[in-house]
Symmetry: C2
Subunit: 221 residues, 2 copies
């Protein structure tokens, strides 16, 4: 499959790119607003993987160009850029494209980090409301630590939660997630359940702080 | 320690009563609006424990009477009774009493179950706002399955999250929780972080439904 990581030069984009390249045979396209930056980071990922004996091709493009060529587009951008990013790639998406939303809006107060619920109900719902109607949107990869993903020597043993209304699209993202070793995807239901899934991320960060749990993940069992 | 379970005749109260009695030496008081019902259920718990070789005394009282005698009062009532229950026991609480809030308000729509955030910010914050100022409030035990607790043959292996502003009170509830075998308490920070903790419960129920995970618990690692 061809996976575009819009914002693939950032932390979570880097982590997902390295894990997908290391553990799977999917073709990866790194997207950025700045295509030169995307090319430089793609080269860095290729070099890092080469040093671990993985020969691969990863190319960098401007976000819309990356999205244009992809079967699955991951919106690996900060929450406040999500809407702009979707708008900037919208005319490159079609009914065959799956948009994946991992972003979580958070705000900090004296107590800790909190879920900053968008007026659409969730970031994933905001993506669905911004993308063309025929594009399927799946929320996934929210609670993964970018650092832990990028540290390829660290074995993962955690769950990632999927939300989405289109079950075929959810099944494709489930297969993608299963391709990353040690990651178990669980379906949390339709898009309307995304807020509770996205709320996990600030909770994980608060727990990490108070319990000395570095790069903590979650398992449901 | 003396633990009062207000609403201890209900499902979560029964589960906690049985586990505390089975795994610890704390003295248990079952509270209910109807003292006769509390006495009958307390007798049932004693009989159930006796059939497993645990000889113990558990007594039933009207909620305020149970709270009056306790070091720790667990508000094991449905979320819509929490405020009334706190008001009905308030004059029996003092600066030495710790109030524990496990309740979560939820609502259902077509997608699944959702966290129904009270205007106070969380159920735990609502308890703190209703109780006398000098009473310490700790949120705990939200995500535990009442059925799994009550099934004493089932080994627990899950986390429970604590929130509270008074760290001494949190430490006491942490010790209580550690007394239940297989339960690991993790501190999620001050009361202001309770909404993300309470949001876990509807998420667990949605995940159980979609992934055939009966009585699912959560672990952070």
């Amino acid at each position: 499959m061809r996976i575009a990581l819009c914002g693939g030069t950032g932390d979570i984009g880097e982590g997902l790119a390295l894990r997908f390249a290391y553990d799977t045979d999917h073709e990866l396209l790194i997207g950025s607003r700045d295509p030169e930056k995307a090319r430089v980071k793609a080269e860095e990922y290729v070099t890092e993987l080469g040093s671990r004996g993985v020969e691969t091709t990863i190319k960098g493009f401007e976000n819309a160009m990356a999205a244009d060529r992809a079967d699955v587009v991951v919106l690996a951008v900060p929450p406040y850029y999500v809407r702009d990013t979707v708008e900037s790639i919208s005319d490159r998406l079609d009914a065959e494209t799956i948009l994946v939303s991992p972003a979580v809006g958070m705000q900090r107060d004296d107590a800790g980090l909190h879920y900053n619920r968008p007026s659409a109900g969730s970031v994933t719902a905001m993506v669905a409301g911004t993308a063309p109607d025929d594009v399927s949107v799946v929320g996934a990869f929210h609670s993964l630590s970018a650092d832990k993903l990028a540290a390829l020597d660290v074995e993962l043993a955690e769950d990632t939660l999927l939300v989405g209304d289109d079950e075929d699209a959810v099944d494709i993202v489930r297969l993608l997630a299963e391709g990353i070793e040690g990651l178990r995807p669980l379906y949390a239901g339709p898009l309307g359940n995304a807020a509770e899934v996205e709320s996990l991320t600030p909770l994980l960060i608060n727990l990490a702080k108070h319990n000395d749990l570095h790069d903590v993940g979650v398992r449901f069992e």
